[in-house]
């Protein structure tokens, strides 16, 4: 194998993405040796993403901040236990999801039931099928789009929302999502399908053709 290819117009992202991954591993190693700056660098790198994650799960700013802060403090306290069999970020996500779910269960004790059996497929058939017309992203301003998405995901039941957030927004694999939530791969798939169909249905209210804005 030859030396790494230089960056070029046809290969613009190769080096940065490799550096980012190698860098994470080095930062974790340094932090494990007690380098506080290295750990702060990891925090700075992921704080925005972890806050977005805890916010999307709890849908409450105060709980999201608490969950994020506790996740970073716990990951610092238990860094030596991190076995490096996954990315540091995935390990961090697992801690943050647990913290967020704990707070969500406190606020809505009867709505988070990830261990319930998987439902049948009878009720999956969409009831309304209407054309959405031109691309919603072109029809709505960015702020309005953000408000629509926030309102729609807020109304999704928490046990579906958590799976959707991890798979489609955080882009974890099905297996990683199952591991983070402590549920089976078929349960993740079933809940993801339902979450996607339910969100499509809820978005139709805003995106259907002929709606006046």
């Amino acid at each position: 194998m030859g030396p790494p290819k230089p960056l070029s117009a046809s290969n613009p992202h190769r080096l940065p993405s490799r550096v980012a991954r190698d860098d994470e591993h080095l930062l974790v190693a340094a932090a494990k040796r007690g380098d506080a700056d290295a750990f702060e660098e990891l925090v700075t790198r992921y704080e925005g993403k972890i806050f977005r994650l805890t916010m999307n799960i709890t849908r409450n700013r105060e709980d999201a901040e608490d969950a994020m802060q506790e996740a970073f403090l716990k990951s610092y306290a238990h860094l030596k236990d991190f076995q490096e069999d996954s990315r540091f970020y995935t390990w961090l996500v697992r801690i943050a999801v647990n913290e967020a779910l704990m707070r969500l269960r406190k606020r809505r004790p009867n709505q988070v039931s990830l261990d319930e059996p998987i439902e049948g497929a009878e009720d999956l058939m969409p009831r309304e099928i209407e054309d959405w017309g031109p691309s919603p992203e072109q029809r709505f301003a960015q702020t309005e789009m953000h408000e629509i998405l926030s309102e729609v995901i807020d109304k999704l039941e928490p046990d579906f929302r958590v799976v959707f957030v991890l798979r489609d927004m955080e882009e974890l694999s099905t297996e990683e999502t199952a591991k983070v939530l402590g549920i089976s791969v078929p349960a993740v798939k079933s809940r993801l399908l339902r979450a996607r169909l339910k969100l499509r249905q809820k978005l139709s209210r805003y995106f259907r053709q002929g709606r006046t804005n």
């Binding site: 007690g34 925005g48 806050f51 306290a77 497929a121 999956l124 058939m125 489609d168």
Partner: protein
């Protein structure tokens, strides 16, 4: 493949997890069924509009409280060592 099976397989189809023969059957159904095609396209778009990989800026008040808590924890740990 009927409409019910298509709806059940939408996620696997969009995630590229279908066997080639099943994928072909599903795509054949989509060519003949406008309703299913609309639903598949809308679910794909639903995932796309929520999938936002842009960097996220942490609000400054939350950021300073986080880093303050972190430095306290580091100091505590340093004192224990």
């Amino acid at each position: 493949m009927n409409c019910k099976s298509v709806i059940r397989e939408i996620s696997n189809y969009l995630d590229g997890e279908l066997e080639p023969s099943v994928k072909q059957e599903l795509e054949q159904h989509l060519e003949d069924c406008d309703d299913c095609k609309v639903v598949v396209d809308q679910v794909r778009l639903t995932v796309d509009v929520f999938c936002d990989s842009k960097p996220v800026e942490l609000p400054s008040d939350i950021k300073s409280r986080l880093h303050e808590a972190l430095r306290r924890k580091m100091k505590e740990k340093g004192n224990q060592a």
